[in-house]
Every structure is written in structure tokens, then in C-alpha cells.
Symmetry: C2
Subunit: 207 residues, 2 copies
């Protein structure tokens, strides 16, 4: 199995390669890719060799080829349909963001329990009641979900998602989820980014 | 220097410890903490020993003590003032989220260039024009900033922040930033979470 940090680095390489392709750059060296992840160009070559990609010394890698290889490894060459549960502040921002669709993730449904929100339009979707969720998950063969409900509703909502056939949950709510082993959870913690900066800025000032 | 992954794990332990304290739990074992991070309880004991924390075998760690120790290491026992630049969709969600303040990060200012947004209230702040940013950064001794401008405005805005005395930037915009070495950047990539799930769900299905 490929360790989580390697998969995270693949996403970081992909972000950089997408920016290069958008500005017309055709080739890239492992040293240039290494600027975007900690670990130096030896780490880049090790990561890519793990997936059978060997650049030619002095020539580097073809940007478009490498994008397709990484997308194949991540499984994002085909489109994934995604639902969002908890149509509050965060959901409204996520539904209007075009970057997910550009990278293979189409938000096809948003669900809530608040009657004031049901039936309102948000980005590409109409917010529906959570009772309509299972039908939409089956109809659109949805396997991934984003959870943006309050922490106290997270576990119960995640169980509903798992029962409806969801196999991957991106969880913004602070509570840890306990789910069957075939349901994967990717925990988002925005505060951790600020804590990392607090640590780095404090250490630099301490000398 | 302490590696990034260790700092990230400290944040994960802290999230779990905060949940335990909120539900009145007084002690925790390294095995229980290990549920929340990959790596098992040996990793937990290694991480905490790195910071001089040795639980007693069979007795574990005191939850409140451990929270204070981790906050001291991360530098979040004192409050940090933070500004947000780019008062769009994402910023509106971040400004209304109470979790940052509870963990030591007060959002004291939000800035934009769009005249329709200037002067409007959003969560705890009034959105101001970017020309007013430097004064507010100095007045409130702000060292950290969250960047939620479009990618093409990110580099130029980050340079303004660095010139005004900002030493840590949490960057949502896709572009990589090139800044002086004393300015730390924590890159947020929400798509990477979905890519990680795509990888895990595809690998499970492939068997
Ligand atoms: N806003 C942020 O910047 C931010 C940052 C980090 C984490 N979070 C976390 O993300 C989650 C969402 O945050 P938010 O700011 O969007 O909150 P919010 O209160 O604006 O939205 C939550 C939504 O969930 C709905 N809801 C409640 N119970 C539900 C249920 N059982 N089923 C379906 N929907 C339900 C509510 O009606 C509401 O629309 C919270 O857990 C929060 O702690 C938010
Ligand atoms: N919304 C999401 O879920 C999401 C997810 C991932 C990444 N992002 C990234 O985060 C950033 C913000 O996303 P958003 O959805 O909030 O975008 P948005 O378009 O809603 O908001 C951007 C704001 O920045 C302001 N702005 C533009 N140029 C500026 C400048 N030079 N100085 C100050 N303000 C300026 C605009 O007036 C606008 O209010 C983007 O780079 C986006 O790619 C967003």
C-alpha cells in the first residue's frame, strides 16, 4: 500500500503541474517539482519511481504526461459525483468553487434539515431535505461526500451516508467518526494550518 | 527542528483532547490518542517524549495538562490576531466560524478591493479596503494572515502582507508563493482531500 504522505505529495505535484500546463510549460525537472514539497528532488524521483515514472536525466518529465499518470494513480481521470451534507456557510463556499469540477469532482447534491434552506438554489444545485439524499446518491452513483454539519450531528449523518453507499467522506466537523473499515475518512482541520504557522513563527522568533 | 508531520499530529491530538475535555474525561492513554492519528501508540509516545512528556504506564496522561503542554509547544496559549484578505465566499464562512477564536486565533480584520464589499459587516468585522490593511496590521500587532484572493492576485497580495510585518500566511489560493525566508506559508488544498479519497476508494475496489 502507498503511504498517505506520498499520496498527499502527488496532489501537491499535481497542483504545480496544472499551474505549469496553464502557462504553457511543456517539461519540468525533479528539482523544479521539489520546490513545492519538502524533501528535495531525491524525494520527487523516489515518489515518481514508486509509480514507474522515470524522467531522463537532463531532460526531466513531460508535464502533460505526468499529469495524466498522477491522475491515473489518484483515480481522477474519470469524474466522481460528490454530495455535500449540511448546507451552511462552508457548504455555500464549496458549492460555488469551480476548482473541484476542473479536477474531476462534480458536486451533484446538497442536503440539510433546516426548512428555511430546503428548495433554495446554491451554486449548481438546489438544497434538498436529507430524506431525499439516499435516492440522489443511488441515481447519480455517488461514492464520495463532504460533511459540513455541526459536530454533534456528524456521526449520525456519516452513518446515513455509509448506509446509502458512500465509501469516502471529507469531514469538516470536528468530531472523529467511527465507521465500517471500507468507508474512508479524510479529516479537514483548518485550525491546524494556523497552529502550524504559530509554531513556525514562534520558533523563528525564539531563535 | 521538529518535522512538519509531528506538528500536524500535535494538532490532531489537540483536537481529540479538546473533545475529551468537553465531555468531562480526565485521563487518556497513548493507545486512545493513537486512534486519531496513523502510527499506533508507539508513535504517540515518541511524539510526546520529543516534548518531554512521559505518561505513567497504566495511568496514561492528564487531559488538561496535555492540552496546555501541546498549546505551549504550538505557541497558542496566548492569542494571535489574524487578518483575512479577499472577502469572498470562503472568507465569509471563515469569519463566521467560532472555532478559530476558541483555539487562540482572533480574526481582527478583512480586506478586499471590490467597492461593493467595502463597509459591509461580515461576522465580527467590517470589510475594509486593502489600503487600510497596513495600519490595522500594525495597530493590532498582527503576525498571521489568511489569503483568500483569486490565484492571480495571490503573489502581489502576499508581498503586501510581508511588507506590513506578516510572518505566517495560510494560503487558499492555488498559486505557489515566493516570499522571504522568514515568512512561513501553510498551503491549504481542499481538492487534495478528495483526491486522497479517490485514491483510497479506487484501491479498495481494485482489491
Ligand atoms: N466555517 C468554517 O470556516 C469552518 C472551519 C472549520 C470547521 N468547520 C466545521 O464545519 C462544519 C460546518 O460549518 P459551518 O460554518 O458551515 O456551519 P453552519 O452552522 O453554517 O452550517 C451547518 C449546517 O448543517 C445543517 N444541519 C444541522 N444538522 C444537520 C443534520 N442532522 N443533517 C443535515 N444538515 C444538518 C444546519 O441546518 C446548517 O445549515 C461545522 O462542524 C464546523 O465546526 C467550519
Ligand atoms: N471556495 C472554496 O471552496 C475554495 C476552495 C479551495 C480554494 N479556493 C481558493 O480560495 C480563493 C478564494 O475563493 P473564493 O471562493 O472565496 O473566491 P471569491 O471570488 O468568492 O472571493 C475572492 C475575493 O477576493 C477579492 N479580491 C480580488 N483581488 C483582490 C486583491 N488584489 N486584493 C484583495 N482582494 C481581492 C475579490 O473582490 C473577492 O471578494 C481562490 O483563490 C480559490 O481558488 C476556494
Amino acid at each position: 500500500a502507498i503511504p498517505d504522505p506520498s499520496v498527499r505529495r502527488l496532489s501537491a505535484y499535481l497542483r504545480h503541474l496544472e499551474n505549469l500546463a496553464a502557462s504553457g510549460v511543456k517539461r519540468v525537472s525533479s528539482r523544479q517539482l521539489a520546490e513545492y514539497v519538502k524533501g528535495g528532488d531525491a524525494q520527487v524521483r523516489r515518489d515518481l519511481a514508486l509509480f514507474g515514472q522515470f524522467g531522463r536525466r537532463g531532460v526531466g518529465y513531460d508535464v502533460e504526461d505526468l499529469i495524466q499518470v498522477i491522475r491515473t494513480i489518484l483515480g481522477t481521470r474519470a469524474q466522481w459525483n460528490v454530495v455535500v451534507v449540511g448546507a451552511g456557510q462552508l457548504c455555500q463556499a464549496l458549492l460555488r468553487y469551480r476548482g473541484f469540477k476542473e479536477r474531476g469532482f462534480a458536486l451533484v447534491g446538497a442536503f440539510d434539515t433546516d426548512p428555511r434552506k430546503i428548495g433554495t438554489q446554491c451554486g449548481p444545485v438546489t438544497i434538498r431535505h436529507i430524506d431525499a439524499m439516499e435516492d440522489i446518491i443511488r441515481k447519480h452513483e455517488v461514492r464520495l461526500a463532504i460533511l459540513t454539519v455541526p459536530a454533534q450531528a456528524a456521526q449520525q449523518t456519516a452513518e446515513k451516508l455509509a448506509a446509502a453507499g458512500i465509501e469516502g467522506i471529507m469531514n469538516f466537523a470536528g468530531a472523529g467518526l467511527s465507521l465500517p473499515p471500507h468507508v474512508h475518512v479524510s479529516q479537514v482541520d483548518l485550525t491546524a494550518h494556523l497552529e502550524q504557522l504559530s509554531f513556525l513563527v514562534s520558533s523563528t522568533r525564539a531563535g
